[in-house]
């Protein structure tokens, strides 16, 4: 077959044809996958909500979603009883951009759990926030031999950075120790830690603004 000439008609025809075929193909695949993608995103959110509220993965829950400004509040109930509220909160001052966290609160406003949904922090440093703020190391120091200490150094000092169970309403806002608070920042990642704690503090404020509604809604259902 001879190569098509570069005449205006040919060029227009071929480009249009290629684009139309591509568009149809993509539309078809989009049609096939969009349902699955939506379901996966929904499942990811629901498993995140269950995890921050300490609910077993296979338990049935009902979620009532309610956007408040830039936040999203999820009021969660099981068999018609309110069990907790998860708040999705975003902070823009992370080291690598936005940090999106989901924080779960119980009726007293204690933090039940958290989950980092989206972030672009440095791996090995700021990215450790997913585990850092729920692990308690205060009081436990590993003993290492003298040789290992000289060659590899002392293990990281024990500190308190577990925010699970904390109550921002009673204890005041969470702050890193550098800013006069009592939460140890992730080593060498103070900026990330500040942004993360800020997101958690804001989540609490949003939760508090809705707390009365949440409780009354639950009682009404009883």
């Amino acid at each position: 077959m001879k190569k098509l000439e570069s005449s205006l008609t040919n060029m227009l025809l071929v480009l249009t044809l290629v684009s139309v075929v591509a568009a149809f193909l993509l539309a078809y695949v989009n049609n096939v996958t969009s349902g699955t993608i939506a379901k996966i995103n929904e499942e990811a959110l629901s498993s995140g909500i269950k995890s921050v509220l300490n609910i077993g993965a296979d338990e049935q829950i009902e979620t009532n979603e309610k956007p408040v400004d830039a936040f999203v509040v999820y009021e969660v109930s099981r068999d018609g009883n309110w069990v907790g509220t998860a708040v999705k909160s975003t902070d823009k001052s992370g080291f690598g951009g936005d940090i999106e966290v989901l924080v779960g609160f119980d009726a007293e406003g204690n933090i039940l759990g958290y989950e980092v949904l989206k972030h672009a922090e440095t791996p090995g440093l700021g990215a450790r926030m997913g585990e850092w703020f729920r692990t308690a190391t205060s009081g436990e120091t590993k003993e290492v031999s003298a040789v290992s200490k000289v060659f590899f150094g002392k293990p990281d000092p024990a500190g308190s950075h577990n925010i699970i169970g904390r109550n921002i309403g009673n204890e005041g806002e969470l702050k890193v120790s550098k800013d006069g608070g009592d939460v140890d920042a992730i080593t060498a990642s103070t900026i990330t830690s500040r942004a993360f704690l800020n997101a958690v503090n804001n989540a609490y404020k949003v939760y508090k603004g809705n707390a009365s509604d949440v409780n009354s809604g639950a009682t009404a259902q009883n």
């Binding site: 077959m1 001879k2 190569k3 098509l4 000439e5 570069s6 005449s7 040919n10 060029m11 071929v14 480009l15 290629v18 684009s19 591509a22 193909l25 993509l26 695949v29 989009n30 096939v32 996958t33 969009s34 699955t36 993608i37 996966i40 990811a44 440095t122 791996p123 090995g124 440093l125 590899f152 150094g153 293990p155």
Partner: protein, 193 residues
């Protein structure tokens, strides 16, 4: 040139990463771990094979003056397709690579092979060229990712090998990518001589 030679050419002799030095952006950006590097390589291989075959088939239909926009449309369609499929069926992989998938469109390996090979050959050799180049890219990225992961986090493919006190964070970050890539290219050149 037979198909086997075409395949080996991309895998070793004209390896896109270590010899042609094409596609440096995904090479440096996605290789923070061996698994990420391998996944990126395989994703690129998929797009490369598809686009090579389609372009080899369409080459006589596409007038010369509009070949670049036509190729880009073909490549971009396959990348978008891959993105949707990955999001639907491999969500965890998509979470770690999602940012880099759209970048495959501008990966110069793909347009480069379309221009240099697929536009001059028939579909079957183009398939082998895509496979060879793609797998050549994959093993290079996997190796780069494995070295960076080992030095930076003490693990390979997620299995911890070294104690955490020996982790050198710099290798997970951008400078480590440049340093490791430089040394790997030097070693490959030394071996090839």
């Amino acid at each position: 040139m037979n198909n086997w030679k075409v395949f080996l050419n991309g895998l070793v002799k004209e390896n896109p990463t270590f010899v042609l030095l094409l596609g440096m952006c995904p090479t440096l950006g996605t290789t923070s771990s061996a698994l990420n590097g391998m996944s990126m390589g395989l994703a690129t291989t998929f797009v490369l094979i598809c686009s090579n075959i389609v372009i080899a088939l369409l080459k006589n239909l596409i007038p010369d003056k509009v070949r670049i926009p036509a190729y880009i449309v073909v490549i971009a369609s396959f990348v978008t397709l891959l993105q949707m499929l990955m999001q639907a069926y491999l969500p965890s992989l998509y979470a770690s690579l999602g940012l880099f998938i759209p970048l495959i469109v501008v990966n110069c390996i793909i347009l480069g092979r379309a221009e240099a090979f697929a536009a001059k050959n028939t579909a079957i050799p183009s398939l082998f060229d895509g496979l060879g180049m793609g797998l050549g890219f994959t093993w290079a990225l996997t190796l780069l990712g494995a070295v960076r992961e080992l030095l930076g986090t003490g693990a390979v493919f997620g299995f911890t090998v070294l104690p955490s006190s020996t982790n050198m964070l710099a290798f997970v970050l951008a400078p480590g990518a440049f340093i490791v890539l430089g040394y790997l290219i030097a070693i490959v050149n030394k071996i090839k001589k």
